[in-house]
Symmetry: C2
Subunit: 343 residues, 2 copies
DNA sequence: TTGAAAGCGCTAACAG
DNA sequence: CTGTTAGCGCTTTCAA
């Protein structure tokens, strides 16, 4: 429970107030807060009592000014795509906020102009408003990482440095190939032979990574992939069209999709044709969005371990901001499969 | 575009650096940044050039310390409920971040312990880490608002002060009754007569507000509501069970639901019975979540104007933090109806 | 219109 | 183990 102080002070108490009440110097109070080991037990206790009595909490601005750190982590928020099923960000942000708090950090959200992936970072950096950034869009050609590196800005990426194998920054990612493999193998175990892939355009590294898992799983059982793959935009409409073609031309009996959005497109096609997902045709999505969880009869989906990602991101952040800074190797986590009625 | 400075300075430039380069005093630079009107045009220009050349941005911590304000708005983030279709928070947070930035504020996210609705606020307040809060859970009996008021903490609520008609704090809310009325009238216009309501338990003020809109719309056409309403938990399973009962016992031909989650429950029932949403039976949800947008054949849903809510919240915040502080009357916004295949 | 002095609350460095 | 001194970078007096 949160204690409610008896009186509401007009101005919050300062270090000096506590020092006076406890009969010690200001520095001793500071030590009591930041390096309790330095104090003798009885002094510490007396100071602690004064702190409790006054309801003292160190002034953040003063501390930030002095220590040249804000204990704030900046994260740029991109608008949630309307009409898609993506819920990754929401879950990740929450996990990050929670994990950061345990490490003594808060998360500062900001936005930037849509066309300019760099806008927003610069101002925060120059005004020393945040200690570090977490970036989430690591598609190839995104200049954020490179730019932040030249500015010597500490940051951790959720996403591999595609195309830059030896990037000097810490990163955490989820193994998309393993996820698609998991999904495909699951369908194979259910007896499916003609399992189609609906993914993104070839220039999406994330999409190609996931696709590789699908083809790997099929090849492991000696099954062909020819004619069973489709690469489209990440929209429901694209998923619907692609699945219609794959049903007609390739006689697919199951679909593995690069996103829940595409998987919903498949469900549209099935609904139009009076096919019941999970009975005649099986479908697996990617991301385990809320949509997957509530749509009838439930959409089987690859679930990213976002809580774990947040933990690793914060761990990397602590290394980065430590003395001396430490940059560990990239971390690749394995997703799981949330099984539901659609398979 | 963001300009990339030629050199990367180890320590960011300060006011003094700019002053020296421009050949003026530090105070003049400060004025150039905060009160440009006070400077003569040519001085201002010279200072501005120096600022640009050095890439100067005022140090946030120092400014915060001096002005006793952080230009940060705190918002507690509650975990996204798994297995529900609620996407309100995500959209609202994004709008808030965007609108806040235009007003010169950033959003600081924090979490609290699950059982204690107060935890998290106290620390931020005492350490003067944020200037104000935005609170979003205004269910009756939530002590946040009252507690913040006794602490004289500035805050704006997204949600009416249910049960406290004359609360002294600014609030912004969406008219749930109007939304349900809109949905119900839409179904009436489509020729439905037996329109059922699936809502939340009676102790939810938000639920009762929305329910009132449904019954109001029916009564306006002289139609009875008896036996057509159900009050359950906000889960897909509850929605499914309730709709099955209402179909059997009340011969409902359409459903208005207090949430998209409940509406998805209805879709489950229809799928089980081989009924096609929008043909035999119509369904309308509430919140226009991503689920509503992508589920076949599309779920008609009441859409809250969250962008507008964010604008009003920030407007209220600016009043609250102005000199002197100004608290305007509560703002009630009207939702719209996103029409899709389910009706 | 510009400049000088003071100090916001804290902690690093050192002295005792 | 505790206290003294200095100063982080900025803005708010007030004086010129």
């Amino acid at each position: 429970m949160t204690r409610i102080p008896a009186r509401v002070p007009s101005a919050p108490p300062t270090l000096a107030d506590v020092a006076e009440l406890a009969g010690v110097s200001r520095q001793t109070v500071s030590n009591a807060v930041n390096n309790p080991d330095l104090l003798r037990a009885d002094t510490l206790e007396r100071v602690q009592e004064a702190i409790d009595e006054l309801g003292y909490s160190p002034n953040r601005a003063a501390r930030n000014l002095r220590t040249r750190s804000s204990h704030l982590i900046g994260m740029r928020m991109n608008p949630a795509q309307e009409g898609t099923a993506n819920a990754t960000m929401d879950r990740f942000v929450h996990s990050l906020v929670e994990t950061s708090r345990e490490a003594g950090y808060h998360v500062l959200l900001f936005t930037g102009e849509h066309e300019d992936p760099l806008s927003g970072y610069d101002d925060l950096l120059r005004s020393t408003a945040v200690d570090a950034f977490v970036i989430t869009d690591t598609y190839l050609g995104n200049p954020q990482a490179t730019w932040l590196e030249t500015r010597r800005a500490p940051f951790v990426a959720f996403g591999r440095p595609w195309g830059l194998p030896d990037a000097g920054h810490p990163w955490v990612d989820v193994d998309g190939a393993a996820g698609a493999d998991l999904a495909t193998t699951h369908l194979l175990d259910r007896g499916h032979q003609r399992i189609a892939w609906i993914g993104w355009r070839k220039d999406s590294f994330i999409g190609e990574d996931r696709r590789a898992g699908w083809s790997r799983a099929l090849k492991a059982r000696g099954l062909p992939t020819t004619g069973l793959a489709s690469r489209v935009e990440d929209t429901v409409a694209s998923g619907r069209e692609a699945s219609a073609v794959l049903l007609d031309d390739a006689h697919a009996t199951a679909f593995v999709c690069a996103s829940d959005t595409l998987a919903m497109g498949v469900l549209h096609t099935l609904a139009e044709r009076g096919l019941v997902p999970g009975r005649e045709i099986s479908v697996v999505g990617f991301d385990d969005s809320q949509v997957a969880q509530v749509v009838p009869p439930g959409l089987t989906s690859v679930r990213q371990p976002l809580e774990q990602v947040a933990i690793e991101v914060v761990k990397a952040l602590e290394g980065l901001l430590g003395h001396p800074p430490y940059v560990g190797p990239g971390v690749l986590l394995t997703p799981t499969l949330a099984m539901r009625g659609s398979s």
